[in-house]
Symmetry: C2
Subunit: 208 residues, 2 copies
């Protein structure tokens, strides 16, 4: 919350971001216009243009806003053992944070997919998505290396494990929303749990 209430630029930008989210969920990316965003916003379209010169500028800020919320949502309790931390991270990435986040998880997945599909043509989207990928990848690698060091995980290639988890979870979320199959994330969770328990964990180790 800003210091001076209604006119605070931070509050205004937050309201523009929320209006963009609603417009994106309602219209889809390919029909998203500055006007459709303004229709979801309780001030004038001029206020949006004051903050963002172009739709492109607004969407770059919006992607950053979504990814910041995502990174807050996936923070893990570093006190827990590596196996539990890894399983908690997998569940949060697949199904959203245990305490409901700011957005509906599947609505957010759909919005992110539409922005992601523009990334091959948009270097700024790509830069942000790469930063996000590397952040999550580093989290997984740290947990896996911790597990290897503590002797609870086998001596695997941590980068390979991170890539496997990230690609699987990304693919599962995308299939779930594009096929409207509500079993893909559940089945993926079951297979990843099997892999963590029976392949990654050291036989006879903690939690086996």
């Amino acid at each position: 919350m800003g210091a001076n209430g209604d006119g605070d630029p931070v509050d205004t930008q937050e309201a523009i971001m929320q209006a963009t989210y609603r417009a994106l969920c309602t219209h889809g990316y390919s029909s998203l216009t500055m006007q459709s965003i303004a229709d979801e916003f309780d001030k004038t379209k001029g206020v949006i243009h004051y903050h963002y010169d172009t739709k492109q500028d607004l969407l770059v800020a919006f992607l950053e806003y979504l990814l910041d919320a995502f990174e807050r949502d996936i923070a893990v309790d570093e006190q827990q053992d590596p196996g539990t931390r890894l399983e908690a991270l997998i569940e949060t990435l697949l199904f959203g944070p245990p305490e409901r986040g700011e957005f509906d998880h599947w609505e957010l997945t759909t919005a992110m997919l539409e922005i992601r599909s523009e990334a091959p043509h948009n270097p700024e989207f790509r830069r942000q998505l790469s930063h996000n990928y590397e952040t999550v990848e580093a989290m997984v690698i740290a947990i896996v290396e911790d597990g290897i060091e503590q002797g609870v995980f086998r001596d695997v290639d941590a980068e390979e494990v991170a890539t496997l988890l990230l690609t699987t979870i990304n693919g599962a979320r995308i299939y779930q929303v594009t096929l409207q199959r509500d079993d893909v994330a559940e089945l993926t969770s079951a297979s990843l749990e099997g892999i963590v328990r029976h392949w990654l964990r050291q036989p006879g180790g903690v939690g086996e």
Copy 2:
């Protein structure tokens, strides 16, 4: 090739599909118009409209065309042992067919991603993508069940394995094109190979 050369409706439709592919790769989905497709086509725009009433009709036919090509490309040699068949299928799905298919694999992945991102709003795209998913899923399940029956794979849940492979490969291809990281598919291939060899294959079985 049609029976009567230049004017054959099958040839014309094939030419329209190829023009659509070129226009999609050049402009991206969100800027794709009937005019941009006509610009890639060597007959008049009227010929396109004669075959397809709307852009939507054309794109539905185009998605079917891409998925038919995809299903031809992933056919596997049923004479080989299940482990080899599964590894060959994974490689083809990740990197494209060994004998180069009709399309560049990563260009095709980008085009498919853009169409896929519309699927939450488009029941006809969803229907076709679901059919495609189920076709590949059934192929993997048949190979895994065959492997279990022959005693070369452990007694795993074939549907869970199929979901894991499909989601991982889909996620890897999408990261590869949206992050323009050329190592994601390679790292995914290495982790999936590890999982097939060390987790799926029966200890002491063929190929161990």
